[in-house]
């Protein structure tokens, strides 16, 4: 697996970007952080659109920037696909000519992605002969993504490509982004400040704050970390993990998911056994019970758990309890319950999960 090494130290008038990262490049890496944390600037540095005076950047075995040797490849010499916040389509060309603009400029032996593939994945077949100004915002952004893909990039950079489209279009575009990564195997770096997008897409998170990388890791680890969740607008998230479809129960209308030897029941899914689904749980839907055989309960999803950490929340009757169920899971319970049950880190408990959301439902 190739890695991305980047080291930038740039001062702008009111802002200091100081980055030193070494991350594996596979799947979708989300650069996540509040507005003004330097996400776009970091992406522009990676693309060579901003030049960090003492910067260094290496992708796999290729060094793209090494200021000690005075090297900084211009963007047009880097195998990068870049999708901007606005579509930036060329108004004097129609959709087809926009799509082919980059395609025509790469040597034919480097063309791994065909127009038919892109048209199919992005569903833009009927738009090909249209003028740009006749497209909706969502359509324009899809064409912009297609245009970038047709340069057969080794790395795809997406700068909040959904920022300018409405919620409904977002819902329509997210599966495309997931698919293009799954079908074309291009590593993606995705800038976002929307937690929902990150939850649906990201395999890895690079958490940015005031120009510095605060944390890197799997989304579930970072978003359930009691240190960060409050600051990230992620305070309602209990868990995100990928589970395998184990069985369908048509009689009761349920699908059983399996992960780490534990089971979760969700409403019947039309997804084949053995497929992977991304599962979301809200921390307020998790309660903590001592002993499985206490009172009989109507809750189906009961998971074995160990308490890892407890954190009080300022001016709130609730506390966050970080549990280990083979994956991190946060339960929001009242401080009163915490004291009554005498919960302490290390205790073995059961987590009752009242509701499980699946990927598709998250944005709705």
């Amino acid at each position: 697996m190739s890695r991305l090494l980047a080291c930038f130290d740039v001062r702008f008038s009111a802002f200091h970007l100081n980055i030193d990262v070494d991350v594996p490049m596979s799947g979708i890496t989300a650069i996540f952080g509040p507005s003004g944390s330097g996400k776009t600037t970091l992406l522009r540095c990676l693309a060579g659109l901003e030049r960090a005076p003492n910067g260094f950047m290496q992708f796999g075995n290729d060094v793209w920037q090494d200021e000690k040797r005075g090297l900084c490849l211009p963007l047009y010499n880097r195998p990068i696909g870049y999708v901007f916040q606005e579509p930036r389509l060329f108004p004097h060309y129609n959709v087809r000519a926009n799509l082919l603009y980059g395609y025509k400029r790469i040597p034919s032996e480097e063309r791994r992605i065909t127009i038919e593939q892109v048209v199919e994945i992005l569903g833009i077949g009927r738009l090909l002969e249209r003028r740009i100004h006749k497209l909706s915002g969502g359509e324009q952004q899809r064409v912009a993504i297609g245009r970038a893909l047709l340069t057969s990039p080794k790395l795809l950079l997406l700068d909040e490509p959904l920022a300018s489209v409405d919620v409904q279009r977002k819902q329509e575009l997210l599966p495309f982004i997931r698919r293009l990564h799954e079908e074309l195997r291009i590593p993606v770096i995705y800038v976002s400040h929307g937690i929902a997008e990150v939850l649906q897409l990201a395999d890895r998170l690079l958490l940015l704050n005031e120009g510095k990388v605060v944390a890197t890791g799997a989304p579930n680890e970072i978003l359930t970390s009691l240190q960060f969740r409050g600051k990230l607008g992620a305070h309602r998230i209990g868990a995100i993990f990928d589970a395998r479809v184990a069985a369908h129960d048509a009689e009761y209308g349920l699908t059983r998911l399996e992960f780490n030897g534990q089971h979760l029941f969700v409403p019947l899914q039309s997804i084949a056994v053995g497929q992977i689904m991304r599962v979301h749980i809200l921390s307020s839907d998790v309660s903590v019970v001592i002993g499985r055989t206490g009172c009989p309960t109507s809750v189906l999803n009961i998971l074995e758990a160990t308490i890892v950490e407890i954190r009080e929340i300022d001016q709130s009757p609730s506390v966050d309890v970080l549990l280990d169920i083979g994956a991190p899971l946060v339960a929001s319970i009242t401080r009163k319950s915490l004291v009554t049950l005498g919960l302490k880190p290390g205790h073995r408990v059961f987590a009752h999960v009242k509701a499980v959301a699946l990927n598709e439902e998250l944005m709705a």
Binding site: P74, L75, Y76, Y82, F84, E86, L89, F90, R105
Partner: protein
């Protein structure tokens, strides 16, 4: 209204050649300069902008006087060429380039400012080198700016008088242009011929401006 004489026709030909040459020179010099003005953050920018705009407010005779001195056998440009460029067609082109400069640079600068850097970066991300991106993306989007620059530069050069008289004199077939021809006709009381050329200039100028405004309406570039 009398018909145009051979002399008048040769003046027309000199005018057209002069305007064409001037516009060509200004487009090649003006494009990089206008691009620089549109995007630079240099503190020299206002100085350059003021210098470019100077011919609009300066009396043509002032400009003409200095260019004449510079072009003469002892002026810097004259020495460079090792002969006097004053009262030659080449000298006239040099003078016209300065005189019509704002009419070419300013529309280009506004066009480049309106286009911005966004399409350029997009083109780079699609493997287009700097030249490629400029030719295939920036200049077509800035097309209206180019049309305005070409038409205004051409028309303004056709109409110049003071600078031409100072630098070129009015040598038939070489430096006598339409505007100076009118003056010559009036000097010798040939009002009919002066009127013919004047009317031609009037209609020509109007049609040119009309063409610019129609083109601006007909080819709106949708920048989204």
């Amino acid at each position: 209204m009398g018909a145009l004489t051979d002399l008048d026709l040769s003046a027309l030909w000199v005018s057209v050649r002069l305007a064409t040459m001037t516009v060509l020179v200004l487009l090649s010099v003006g494009t990089p300069l206008a691009w620089w003005l549109a995007h630079t953050r240099s503190r020299f920018r206002p100085i350059v902008e003021a210098a470019v705009a100077l011919p609009i407010v300066l009396p043509p005779t002032v400009l003409g006087f200095y260019i004449l001195v510079a072009l003469g056998p002892y002026g810097p440009l004259g020495r460079l060429a090792d002969l006097s460029l004053a009262f030659t067609f080449t000298g006239l082109v040099i003078a016209s380039v300065f005189y019509s400069m704002p009419f070419v640079i300013q529309p280009l600068q506004s066009a480049f400012e309106a286009v911005g850097k966004a399409p350029l970066e997009a083109a780079w991300s699609l493997r287009a080198s700097k030249w490629d991106a400029f030719l295939t993306v920036i200049s077509p989007i800035a097309l209206r700016g180019y049309i305005s620059a070409i038409v205004l530069g051409f028309a303004h050069t056709m109409g110049e008088f003071g600078v031409v008289l100072m630098v070129g004199g009015s040598i038939p077939g070489q430096t006598r242009v339409l505007s100076t021809t009118i003056f010559e006709h009036v000097e010798v009381m040939e009002y009919a011929q002066a009127h013919a050329i004047s009317a031609f200039m009037l209609i020509f100028s109007f049609l040119v401006l009309l063409a610019v405004y129609v083109a601006n309406r007909r080819f709106p570039i949708h920048v989204s």
